[in-house]
C-alpha cells in the first residue's frame, strides 16, 4: 500500500507534465493547421467586409482625385429612394422563392430515379450532371441564342404545334425574362443537388427498407417514413446551398439581359456590380452590398432556426 502510494506520488508529476506537454503540442498542431484557412478568411472575407462597412459611409469613388470623405447615412437615404434597388430586391426574392423549392424538388425526383438499380443508370447520372460541369457563362451564352425570337426554342414550338404557337423574344419581354432565366438556372444547377440527394439516399440503411417491405408498407409510406426522415441532414444542406446560390444571382443576368428589359431581371448583386464598377460609385455599391449582407444573414439565421435539431 505504502509502496503503491509512493509509486503514485512519483508518477503523478511526471504524468502531469506529459499531459500539458502533449496538450501544448496538440494546440500548436491545431493552430498550424488552422492558420492557412484563417489567413485566407481574414484576407478575403473579414477585411473586405470591414472595408465595405467603412466605405458605405463615405463618398468613395473608383476614379477620383479627392480622397473619400465621411458622409454619414447619405448612401443609405439614397438607397431607400432608389426604385431600381427595390426592383432588384423583388427580383432576387422572386428568383430565390421559385428556384429553391423547384430545384430542390426536381433534384430529389431525379435522385430517386437514378437511385434505381437498373442497367445504364450511370449514363443518366452523367447526363443530368453534365450541365453542372459546364461553365455558367457558356451555358448562359448558349441559352441566350436558344431564347432568341428566331432561336431553337421558338422553332421547336412552332414545329411541334404545326405553326399554331408563335414564340416570343423570351429575354426581351419583361414578362418572360425572369422565368426564362429561372428555367435555365434550374436546368444548370439541378444535377449538382441530385448528386447530393443521391449521396443522402445511399446512407439510408437497406435494413430499414427491408423491414418496411416485411410490414407490407406501400411505396408512398416507405418514402414518408423511411426515406424522408433519413434525408434530414441532406435536406438542410441542400436548402442552405440553393438559397445562398439563388440570392447571389449574377452571372446569368450579366451575360443574358444586363438587368433589362425595364429592370425586370436586375438583381441586388448585379446592381452592386453595375453601380460600383461601371458607374464608378464605390461607396454606393458598398452600401448596397452591406444592406444585402444583412438581409442574407437574416435569411440564413431564420433557416438555421427552422432546421435546428429539435430535442
Amino acid at each position: 500500500m505504502t509502496t503503491m502510494i509512493a509509486a503514485l506520488e512519483r508518477l503523478r508529476p511526471v504524468r502531469r507534465t506529459r499531459t500539458t506537454h502533449a496538450r501544448r503540442r496538440e494546440s500548436l498542431t491545431a493552430l498550424g493547421m488552422a492558420t492557412p484557412a484563417v489567413v485566407l478568411l481574414i484576407v478575403f472575407v473579414v477585411v473586405p467586409l470591414a472595408l465595405t462597412f467603412a466605405l458605405s459611409f463615405t463618398d468613395a469613388r473608383l476614379i477620383s482625385p479627392t480622397p473619400p470623405h465621411f458622409v454619414g447615412l447619405d448612401n443609405f437615404t439614397r438607397l431607400i429612394q432608389d426604385p431600381v434597388f427595390f426592383k432588384s430586391l423583388r427580383n432576387t426574392a422572386y428568383f430565390a422563392a421559385v428556384v429553391v423549392p423547384l430545384q430542390a424538388g426536381l433534384a430529389l425526383v431525379l435522385a430517386l430515379l437514378v437511385n434505381a438499380k437498373v442497367r445504364g443508370v450511370n449514363f443518366f447520372r452523367t447526363v443530368y450532371f453534365l450541365p453542372v460541369v459546364t461553365s455558367m457563362v457558356v451555358v448562359s451564352l448558349l441559352w441566350t441564342f436558344l431564347y432568341r425570337q428566331d432561336g431553337l426554342i421558338n422553332h421547336m414550338l412552332s414545329a411541334l404545334t404545326f405553326g399554331h404557337v408563335e414564340g416570343r423574344d423570351w429575354l426581351g419581354d419583361p414578362a418572360t425574362a425572369m422565368p426564362a432565366i429561372i428555367l435555365m438556372s434550374v436546368w444548370q444547377g439541378v444535377g449538382f443537388h441530385m448528386i447530393i440527394w443521391l449521396a443522402g439516399l445511399q446512407t439510408i440503411p437497406a435494413e430499414l427498407y427491408e423491414a418496411a417491405d416485411l410490414d407490407g408498407a406501400p411505396r408512398r409510406h416507405r418514402f414518408r417514413h423511411v426515406t424522408w426522415p433519413g434525408l434530414r441532414a441532406t435536406r438542410t444542406f441542400v436548402l442552405i446551398t440553393i438559397t445562398i446560390q439563388a440570392l447571389g444571382l449574377f452571372t446569368q443576368i450579366n451575360v443574358m439581359t444586363e438587368g433589362g428589359p425595364l429592370d425586370s431581371s436586375t438583381t441586388v448583386v448585379y446592381q452592386a456590380m453595375r453601380t460600383g464598377y461601371e458607374q464608378q460609385q464605390t461607396a454606393y455599391a458598398a452600401a448596397i452590398s452591406l444592406v444585402f449582407f444583412v438581409l442574407v444573414l437574416a435569411v440564413s439565421l431564420v433557416q438555421r432556426f427552422l432546421t435546428r435539431e429539435k430535442d
Binding site: R25, L28, T29, G32, M33, T35, P36, V39, D59, R61, L62, I63, S64, P65, T66, D74, R78, P83, Q149, D169, G172, P174, E258, G260, P261, L262, D263, R274, Y277, E278, Q279, Q280, Q281
Partner: protein, 434 residues
C-alpha cells in the same frame, strides 16, 4: 509526432516568410512613379484583338526604338473588353504604364481622376491644328491626348433598293429630313420585303448606345447634359426636344420599322438583304463597298431639325501622370505624329485619317474618293460626347434609358429618371470640381 510538429512549424515559417516577402514587395514598389525603368518605357494599348491596328503600333515602336538610342518603348497589348478595367486597377495600385491609349470620351474622366498628365507635342511633324477637332483630347484647356483617326456614323443602303421604292438618295448638301426618312421607312415596310427595314444595331451593348443614338437626340435639338458648365441634365436630357426624340425612337419599334433587338451581326444581316437601311460606323464602309460595289449608298445622317449629327472621338494616345520618365514619353508621342503613321492607322483600321494630308494618301478617302463623304461627315457633323469627368456615368444612364424606351417605358419618365440620376451624381461629386 515530434517530427510532424517540426515539419509543420517549418512549413508555417516558410509560409509566413513568403507572405512577408509578397507584402514587402507590394509596399516596396508602390512608390509614386511607375511605368518606366530608367529609359525603358512601358506602353499599353487596347488592341490585342485587332492585329491590323496592333501592327501599326508595333511599327511605330520599332521605328522609334531604332531612331535614337536613349529611350526604349516596350509594348503590352490588352483585349479591348478588359482594357479600361486594367487601367483602373493599375491606377489604384499606382502601376500605370508611361504611355497608354484612351477612348476619346474617357479623356476628361481620366484627366480629372489624375491618371493622365497634360502633354506638349509642339514641334512634331504634324501640328495639332491640322487634325480633325474630334481627334484632339482636351480637358480644361489643356491637351491630354490625341488620336490618329476618327470614325463616322452613316447610313448604308443599296441604291437599287431605294430606287425601286422611289426613295430619294440624299447627299451631304441635302440630307434626308425627318418626314422623308419616316416616309421612306413606311414605303419599305409596306413592300413586305423586309421584316425590319431599318437596322440600328439595337442588339449591341455598351458605348454603342450613346455613340450611335445621342447624335440623333442632338439632331432633334436635345442633348445628354446642359453643356454650359456641365452642371445639370434636367431640362436638357428630359426636355421637350429630347422627349420628342425618345417618342420617335420608340415609334420605330411600335411601327415595326426596327427590331427591338437586332441580330448578332447587324452588318451581315444588311449585306444579306434582311434590312434595307443600316445605321453603322464607317469601319464597315470598305467591306460593304467590296460586297455591293457601285450599288452601295453612303448616306448622311438624317436632319431631324437641328442639322445632321454624328458622334466624334475615337481612341487616342496619352501619358500617365505617374510616369517616371516624362521626357521619354513625350519624345515617343512627338515621334509618332508623322503623316505616314496617320496614313498607316487609317489604312489598317478602315477609319478616317485624322489629317487632310493623310486623307490624300489613303485610297478612297482622298477628295473625290468613294469614302470622302465620310471625311466630310466627320468634319461637318461631328459632336464630341460631353467633355466632363461625369461622362462614363452619363453614358451608362443614357444607355439604360434608351434601352428602357425601346422596351416600352414611358419616354418622359425614362429620360426624367436618367436626368435625375445624373444630377444626383454631379451633386454628390461636387460637380467634378478639382
Amino acid at each position: 509526432m515530434v517530427f510532424r510538429t517540426r515539419r509543420l512549424a517549418g512549413a508555417s515559417v516558410a509560409v509566413a516568410a513568403a507572405t512577408a516577402l509578397v507584402a514587402g514587395c507590394a509596399t516596396g514598389s508602390g512608390g509614386s512613379t511607375s511605368g518606366a525603368s530608367g529609359n525603358t518605357l512601358t506602353l499599353w494599348t487596347h488592341n490585342a484583338g485587332n492585329s491590323a491596328e496592333l501592327d501599326v503600333v508595333k511599327k511605330i515602336i520599332k521605328d522609334f526604338n531604332g531612331s535614337q538610342s536613349k529611350y526604349k518603348v516596350k509594348l503590352q497589348a490588352f483585349p479591348q473588353s478588359d482594357y479600361n478595367n486594367s487601367v483602373v486597377a493599375a491606377a489604384s495600385a499606382r502601376k500605370l504604364p508611361c504611355l497608354l491609349d484612351v477612348d476619346g470620351p474617357n479623356v476628361a474622366n481620366w484627366a480629372w481622376g489624375g491618371y493622365l498628365s497634360p502633354i506638349d507635342v509642339s514641334g512634331s511633324e504634324v501640328p495639332l491644328s491640322d487634325q480633325l477637332a474630334s481627334t484632339v483630347g482636351r480637358y480644361k484647356g489643356k491637351l491630354y491626348a490625341f488620336g490618329f483617326y476618327d470614325v463616322a456614323l452613316t447610313f448604308f443602303a443599296r441604291k437599287s433598293v431605294l430606287n425601286t421604292y422611289d426613295i430619294r438618295i440624299p447627299t451631304t448638301d441635302k440630307p434626308w429630313t425627318k418626314a422623308e426618312f419616316d416616309s421612306a421607312l413606311a414605303k419599305l415596310k409596306k413592300s413586305g420585303k423586309f421584316a425590319y427595314p431599318l437596322e440600328m444595331g439595337t442588339g449591341g451593348s455598351g458605348e454603342w448606345w450613346p455613340y450611335a443614338f445621342s447624335p440623333q437626340l442632338q439632331s432633334f435639338g436635345g442633348d445628354l447634359i446642359d453643356r454650359d458648365g456641365y452642371k445639370t441634365a434636367s431640362g436638357t436630357l428630359d426636355g421637350k426636344k429630347s422627349v420628342e426624340w425618345a417618342t420617335w425612337f420608340r415609334s420605330l419599334v411600335t411601327k415595326g420599322y426596327m427590331a427591338k433587338k437586332s441580330g448578332a451581326d447587324p452588318n451581315k444581316d444588311f449585306l444579306a438583304g434582311k434590312s434595307a437601311i443600316q445605321w453603322d460606323g464607317s469601319w464597315n464602309a470598305a467591306k460593304n463597298a467590296e460586297k455591293l460595289g457601285d450599288d452601295l449608298a453612303i448616306i448622311p445622317p438624317v436632319d431631324f431639325g437641328d442639322g445632321p449629327k454624328i458622334g466624334g472621338a475615337s481612341w487616342q494616345w496619352a501619358m500617365s501622370s505617374t510616369c517616371s520618365n516624362k521626357a521619354g514619353a513625350q519624345a515617343w508621342l512627338k515621334f509618332s505624329r508623322q503623316t505616314k503613321y496617320f496614313v498607316d492607322y487609317a489604312k489598317a483600321t478602315g477609319t478616317i485619317p485624322g489629317t487632310e494630308a493623310a486623307a490624300k494618301q489613303v485610297d478612297g478617302y482622298q477628295p473625290g474618293g468613294k469614302f470622302n463623304e465620310l471625311v466630310q461627315f466627320a468634319r461637318k457633323y461631328a459632336v464630341v460626347r460631353p467633355v466632363t469627368p461625369a461622362y462614363p456615368y452619363i453614358s451608362t444612364e443614357f444607355q439604360k434609358a434608351a434601352q428602357d424606351i425601346i422596351a416600352g417605358a414611358d419616354p418622359k419618365n425614362a429620360l426624367g429618371q436618367a436626368a435625375k440620376a445624373i444630377d444626383n451624381d454631379l451633386k454628390s461629386n461636387n460637380y467634378y470640381a478639382g
